[in-house]
Amino acid sequence: MAHVKTAGVILGTLMGLAAGLSIYTFVYARGTSYLTNDPTACANCHVMQGHYDAWSHSSHRAVAVCNDCHAPHTFVGKYVSKGINGFNHSWAFTTGRFHEPIQVTAFNERIIEGACRNCHQDIVQMIDHGPHTSEPLSCIRCHPAVGHMH
């Protein structure tokens, strides 16, 4: 019993410490940048710099910021996905363990596909769902570079 208690205290302390340090890490690494819409906030992470540079030359630089494509357009969805991505990316960045070149996850690809349709609904309704009821086509198969080249 005592062992369990001691273990619990140690565990508790460690977890507290971990949480504290995690928050510190988050703040230090400007994890809050995930919560704004400012594209320079993304570029705050140097691994995002290339994408930022490419975006600033893209056809969409004047019409869409990172979040317009990479975050869902609903309030809850936006912050939940930001939470997930913010956690994943901070973790990946700090551990340095991620695939090079960076690849979009299936989860985020769906968000992107949703974002295209959100803005371009009128134009694509005929080809996308339109009269069809079958599966939608992937936009980024033909337009992978609209937001930025790789």
């Binding site: 609903t74 968000i111 609904q121 134009i123």
Partner: protein
């Protein structure tokens, strides 16, 4: 775990909510019996207008088609023809000596002409053609179903062996909307028994049992499969003249040849050499399959019916044609390079193929000449057998790339490989012939 959990709760964050609006006015009701494209055109005027533009004739370096005026006759009322390939390269007559193709063979042109070109080709005079042809030259879906009393396959089986003139009366249009689309959902659909059976045999050869194209093809695959109903190599099986795609051993050129060898199939006996030979026809689907575009998931419709903007909407360009007449929509979405450069890239590929085709043609004609001379000089069938077999192989492989209509673009290296193999066969035939007669 966290990711999965949250994802499950928030499915709606992807916001694929599209269904709300109605993109078109349903002016008329379309059914599975609506054959006339003009009626479909009431609901889809833009697609219909574009569809009708397949009458346009314009050349590219190796494709498109040229409009040659001609005086209509009773037997053949056409006032415009596409250029004759036989005149462009008379060696083709040697290659096909004794076969209907040596009398008339033209550059292919737009879908609008498919029924009349097939009806009035001089090949019809040269040899009696069966009803099977209409599988790919007419809007045959409704006629099949009618003829089969509701059963597509039964109608198909019935029309195949009919004499052409008789079958011809059952059809009225070249390909129309109903051949590619479900009239209710407008989804793509497969209406051709030849392909349904062919793709099943091919999939079986790849280890996929009981492939059902209606339920198992993805939407992206369908954007090629609708074309693959016709743009493929085929033969007529048995006295029933059943249309069959020779894919049971695979769809590479050599695999089809092996298939034909095994079933000992022969299209005709070569007039000058006596060799049992096979004609290849428009294997676009098969060649495309071996290319990088296919591998990367790029479908026929992506290049030949690319999206275009009309007013506030994007639609598929139903003016099916050479993508080289439409490079900006057909290629530039994927390849961000100038049009002139894209054209140059395509033509570089085509010119290499053309050069090799020329080399292979010379080799084949040399073999045919040698065989002919040996035969006239009294060589025995036994002495000729090896070289005739080489002719059969060289000819089919050359014909494969010759009949394929992209001049190698659909799979550049594979086209070159096939032609190299053809050259090797033809030249070895010449060597063997000399050795056999020593």
């Amino acid at each position: 775990v966290l990711t999965i959990g949250v994802t499950a709760v928030l499915v709606n964050i992807f916001e694929h909510k599209q269904d709300a609006r109605n993109p078109f006015f349903r002016v008329v009701e379309l059914t599975d019996e609506t054959q006339d494209p003009a009626v479909w055109g009431k609901n889809f005027p833009i697609q219909y207008d574009l569809y009708r533009r397949t009458v346009d004739m314009k050349r590219t370096r190796f494709g498109g088609s040229e409009a040659l005026p001609r005086t209509p006759t009773d037997a053949d009322p056409r006032s415009v023809l596409a250029q004759s390939r036989l005149e462009e390269d008379p060696r083709l007559k040697t290659m096909w000596a004794g076969y209907a193709f040596a009398t008339d063979f033209r550059e292919d042109r737009g879908h609008a002409y498919m029924l009349e070109d097939q009806t009035f080709t001089e090949r019809q005079q040269a040899a009696q053609q069966p009803g099977t042809c209409l599988h790919c030259h007419a809007s045959v879906y409704i006629p099949y179903v009618k003829l089969g009393e509701g059963d597509l396959f039964k109608g198909f089986a019935k029309m195949n062996p009919m004499p052409f003139a008789e079958a011809r009366k059952l059809v009225t249009h070249p390909i129309t909307c109903v051949d590619c689309h479900d009239p209710e959902t407008l989804q793509l659909r497969i209406t051709r028994p030849g392909f349904i059976e062919g793709i099943k045999a091919y999939k079986a050869s790849q280890g996929v049992a009981d492939y059902d194209v209606h339920t198992m093809a993805t939407r992206q695959e369908m954007r090629s499969f609708v074309c693959a109903q016709c743009h493929v190599e085929y033969y007529f099986k048995g006295p029933e003249k059943r249309l069959t795609y020779p894919w049971a051993k695979g769809i590479k050129a050599d695999e089809m040849l092996t298939y034909y060898d095994e079933i000992e199939f022969t299209d005709w006996t070569h007039a000058e050499t006596g060799a049992p030979v096979i004609k290849a026809q428009h294997p676009e689907f098969e060649l495309w399959n071996q290319g990088i575009h296919s591998r990367a998931g790029v479908a026929c419709a992506d290049c030949h019916m690319p999206y275009m903007r009309v007013g506030a909407m994007k639609i598929s360009d139903h003016h099916v044609r050479s993508p080289l007449l439409n490079i900006n929509n057909a290629c530039q979405t994927c390849h961000k390079v100038p049009e002139a450069e894209l054209l140059a890239r395509a033509e570089t590929i085509q010119e290499r193929t053309y050069h090799l085709r020329d080399r292979a043609m010379n080799a084949l004609v040399a073999l045919i000449d040698d065989l002919k001379a040996a035969r006239e000089a009294g060589a025995t069938d036994e002495q000729l057998a090896g070289a005739r077999d080489r002719q059969r192989h060289a000819q089919f492989l050359l014909d494969f790339t010759e009949a394929e209509n992209s001049m190698g673009f659909h799979a550049p290296q594979e086209a070159a490989r096939i032609l190299a193999t053809s050259i090797d066969h033809a030249r070895q035939g010449q060597v063997e012939l000399r050795d056999a007669r020593k």
